[in-house]
């Protein structure tokens, strides 16, 4: 397994600093509402349902139709839902985020996401080797207005 992690680490090193831009499509009030319900946000707190909850954009793992089930890894994930990075057989877990909210995110906006892997490190833990990924994602609307900067850490085992 450690050889596999080392191999994935070396692969990820080749994409450090490169940016990928993806069109996420138009945002929907229904999706905001479902996210809010799932997160336990009280609808009676007066939030505008046409404005996304703060953590919505940064939390969604996949924006398209998703990979066919046969193409998913054994843990249920696919590269389209792991920020697009070329990870095979690595169990990826979120380890935290640093979110800067620049502009309210509204239903109907057409959003683009730019993702850059800033750093990847190979580490040794009590249960073996693991990798940490630090990435930056910037979300903009159709006019190029910056909505959200999300610095994110993942742990891959």
């Amino acid at each position: 397994m450690s050889e596999h992690i080392t191999g994935q680490y070396e692969l990820l090193q080749t994409v450090v600093g490169t940016e990928n831009t993806t069109r996420l499509g138009h945002l929907s009030e229904m999706d905001f509402s479902r996210f809010a319900t799932a997160a336990g946000i009280d609808p009676a707190d007066g939030a505008d349902p046409a404005v996304a909850p703060h953590l919505y954009l940064g939390s969604v793992m996949g924006w398209g139709a998703g990979a066919p089930e046969a193409d998913l890894a054994v843990d249920g994930t696919s590269t389209t839902e792991t920020r697009g990075f070329p990870l095979t057989g690595v169990r990826l877990m979120g380890a935290g985020q640093d979110l800067e909210f620049h502009t309210p995110v509204r239903a109907g906006m057409e959003v683009t996401e730019t993702t850059r892997l800033d750093d990847v490190q190979l580490k040794e833990g009590s249960s073996g080797q693991f990798i940490t990924l630090h990435l930056v994602r910037r979300f903009r609307d159709e006019n190029g207005t910056l909505l959200l900067t999300c610095r994110e850490t993942f742990i891959g085992r």
Binding site: A39, G58, M61, L72, D75
Partner: protein, 144 residues
């Protein structure tokens, strides 16, 4: 409604939540997160965990809710940071606490910028998440 205390070292009102398997499933669905570790108990145990795990982002939502619950009317959440430090599973009682660590006038003079240190612990007082928030409190918001 009473405005919250806006003084250094003041605590924000704690938020206590008890996530359920249904909540985790719905959060995975709402975020298109197919990772089995969040909804497949057999798989989670195979991975060595006691049960399915509360998502990293859901911990972040709990921190965000605590800040929102505290924030005076008209406040704007400008930044939220957190690190996941321990796992949580359905049935855990998670409590988010916060302390005001800094209050400064906003650059444009329109309100105050408040920094809050946040922690989330489970019922055994084990740390699950640690973070911070930056909130712009409008002029006249908050008692202090």
């Amino acid at each position: 409604m009473n405005e919250p205390a806006l003084t250094l070292d003041a605590s924000i009102a704690p938020l206590t939540v008890r996530p359920t398997t249904i909540q985790l499933f719905r959060f995975s669905a709402a975020t298109w997160n197919a990772h089995r570790i969040h909804y497949d108990q057999t798989y989670a145990r195979h991975e060595g965990y006691p049960d399915v795990l509360v998502q990293s982002h859901l911990h972040g939502c709990f921190l965000s809710r605590a800040v929102r619950q505290w924030a005076p009317a008209g406040s704007v959440l400008r930044r939220l940071r957190w690190e996941n430090r321990g796992i949580a599973v359905p049935g855990d009682e998670l409590t988010v606490t916060g302390t005001i660590t800094s209050i400064e006038l906003a650059d444009d003079g329109g309100g105050r910028v408040v920094q809050i240190a946040l922690e989330e612990h489970n019922q055994d007082d084990e740390l699950c998440a640690r973070g911070s928030a930056e909130v712009l409190v409008a002029e006249g918001g908050g008692d202090g």
